[in-house]
């Protein structure tokens, strides 16, 4: 082939030192974003504290000591003690396990279901899309908080049921986000090309459509974890969700609300941890969105 030599010279000068995917490039941009890294650091720090709770907490989370109730923060009890003399610091460490895992698991679950529904609606379009979206409209017509409360009240309280209640109410968000981004790329030529090489529907969705429409979903997921942590706290606050003596941050707030005048630190510490988690995740989510936006490429 006469052309082959010419071609080799075309290809040769472009030596790649490192092959980098679009996602890899986005991650590099993300690493340069200070506030995103601080946000991620905050979240990872809280997660680490929660994971290591059994090793670093000075007392058991349910160990009562009536002789030391309502202690102010001190060297013995960093965050003081509550009305049963339980160490607030230990309870917060353990509480992080529940608050964060509910947030993560509920988001993961909602995302899985949302991806399936959204991908089906976006890929097939037409009548199927119409039916699915109108069904989701019904869900979204109910205020999210109210919906979560209703499901939670119907299912009863507890760790798994709370996750389920929170997940269901967030499914439409994910489904809509994914559907929108699939629709915008449904007519791209490479999807047609995938069909032209003999790809089946499933392969087309998993290998060609999903990887290309995942960016907005990732951002929604990050923000959603923060949102879910807040919702979990709210549920526990009104007595649904996770029940005492399990130390969940929202439940701790709820338990302390009667003592706000005399012992405000009982509210301040769990509140601070909720706020830090949400702040960290939102900072990270914002950074992620910037990193994934191709228009902001430097």
């Amino acid at each position: 082939m006469a052309d082959k030599n010419a071609a080799a010279t075309v290809a040769a000068p472009v030596k790649t030192s490192k092959t980098q995917s679009e996602l890899g490039a986005a991650m590099a941009r993300l690493r340069k974003n200070k506030s995103a890294m601080i946000g991620l650091g905050l979240f990872l720090f809280l997660a680490l504290l929660a994971i290591l709770a059994p090793y670093i907490s000075p007392y058991g989370y349910a160990t009562m000591n009536p002789a030391e109730k309502f202690q102010l923060p001190s060297v013995r009890h960093w965050f003081g003690t509550d009305e049963y003399g339980r160490d607030v610091f230990s309870r917060i460490l353990y509480g992080g396990r529940y608050s964060l895992s509910v947030g993560l698991l509920a988001t993961a679950f909602a995302m899985c279901v949302g991806v399936i529904i959204g991908a089906t609606a976006g890929y097939y379009g037409g009548q199927i899309d119409n039916i699915i979206m109108r069904f989701l409209d019904i869900f979204q017509a109910i205020p999210m908080m109210l919906l979560t409360i209703v499901i939670s009240a119907a299912l009863g309280s507890g760790f798994d049921k709370t996750i389920f209640a929170l997940a269901i109410s967030h499914v439409p968000d994910f489904a809509r986000t994914l559907r929108a981004s699939i629709m915008s790329m449904r007519d791209m030529e490479y999807i047609e090309a995938a069909e032209a090489i003999g790809c089946g529907t499933f392969r087309q969705i998993v290998k060609y459509i999903l990887p290309n429409s995942f960016a907005p979903l990732l951002v929604t997921a990050t923000m959603n974890v923060a949102n879910t942590v807040l919702l979990t706290a709210s549920l526990s606050y009104i007595g649904l969700g996770i029940q005492p003596p399990t130390p969940e941050w929202g439940a701790m707030l709820s338990a302390a609300k009667g003592f706000i005048r005399n012992y405000p630190y009982l509210l301040i510490f769990p509140g601070l941890f909720i706020a830090t988690t949400v702040l960290g995740l939102n900072m990270f989510g914002d950074g992620l969105r910037d990193a994934l936006d191709p228009r902001l490429k430097d």
Partner: protein
């Protein structure tokens, strides 16, 4: 021309319509084509004439929601592709028939390594291990002039010409019997165009593959095609061997197209063009579809639809006044 059993590819009376916002768009209106192994058929026509729709109909990759093949049949070695189930059709796509797409910028998956996109085709159609598929993919990459170390690169790291090489490599990965090249060089600049075309011709001649070349560049047709179909408003206006049509363009539209080619020897300030625009495919004109733009149109052209008639062996033309017009033109000069 030939009967269905011995012809490699035969398209018969293909009618394709799109529906958009309640309107019916008549994209392809009764096209019939034949193609033998190792031969190249060029489909020439303006934008929107229905060339790409014909190609996609053969692949059966028209968008399900808006397009439908109303009637006709497409025989590949006597087997009607339009009667195949979707699952059987999947085995044909990419393996027996494959397609080179128009725009290399959008025809590759941005999130997949280019090497994997090629080995994907091989894996779908052959029972091979990952390593074997990769080995084959590398040899095809080298065949189109891309070195093996670029296997792990992503499309955005490639230039347009190199992306088009990858797309050609994808199309050729399973040694197809029929290659549909849909304006394979429109999006590339002239020097790269020549490289890509040379490469496609070389690979075609090596493997005796049949090719349908969709283009509006008559220069490419002169160089590559054996037979030629001039498509206008979803119909064939003139059909025959390249030699016959280039020597003796018989339809006024074809004549107009040839007049629009810049001539290197004459010093003209403006190129001749065909007045007007292609007809609105939602309301096709009655009679001959070309009559609103035809300088030789007469009363009968507005009402009677001409048939595709054999004017000499291997040369068909859809114009009732073809010979008269040729006389007229000859008299002017």
């Amino acid at each position: 021309m030939a009967d269905t059993k011995n012809t490699f590819l035969e398209v018969k009376d293909l009618v394709v319509q799109y529906t958009s916002a309640g309107e019916v768009i008549h994209a392809v209106n009764g096209i019939s084509l034949q193609l033998e192994r190792g031969q190249t058929l060029a489909l020439v026509g303006e934008t929107g004439a229905g060339k790409t729709t014909i190609g996609k109909s053969i692949m059966r990759i028209l968008p399900d929601r808006s397009a439908s093949i109303k009637s006709g049949s497409i025989f590949l070695e006597g087997q009607d592709l339009l009667q195949l189930s979707e699952i059987d059709m999947r085995k044909v796509r990419g393996a027996r028939i494959s397609m080179v797409f128009q725009d290399p910028m959008t025809a590759l998956n941005p999130t997949m390594k280019i090497g994997n996109q090629i080995s994907e085709v091989i894996k779908i159609h052959n029972e091979v291990s990952k390593a074997e598929a990769k080995k084959q993919a590398i040899s095809i990459l080298e065949l189109v002039g891309i070195t093996a170390e670029r296997y792990d690169a992503y499309p955005h790291q490639f230039s347009g010409g190199m992306k088009q090489r990858v797309i050609v490599a994808m199309a050729l990965a399973c040694s197809p019997e029929l290659l549909l090249a849909d304006e394979p060089t429109t999006a590339l600049d002239v020097t790269i165009q020549a490289q890509i075309l040379e490469m496609i011709y070389a690979l075609r001649d090596k493997s005796k593959m049949a090719m349908i070349l969709i283009t509006h560049d008559l220069g490419i047709v002169a160089q590559a095609a054996d037979t030629l179909a001039v498509i206008y408003a979803g119909e064939i206006l003139e059909y025959g061997t390249k030699e016959a049509i280039f020597k003796d363009p018989s339809h006024p539209y074809t004549m107009g197209l040839f007049k629009a080619i810049p001539n290197l020897t004459s010093d003209s300030r403006r190129l001749a063009n065909i007045e007007g625009l292609p007809p609105d495919p939602t309301v096709l004109p009655a009679g001959c579809c070309f009559h609103p733009r035809c300088p030789y149109a007469q009363e009968e052209c507005r009402s009677i639809k001409p048939e595709l008639e054999v004017i000499s062996p291997g040369h068909d033309c859809r114009c009732t006044r073809s010979s008269e017009i040729k006389q007229e033109v000859a008299n002017v000069f």
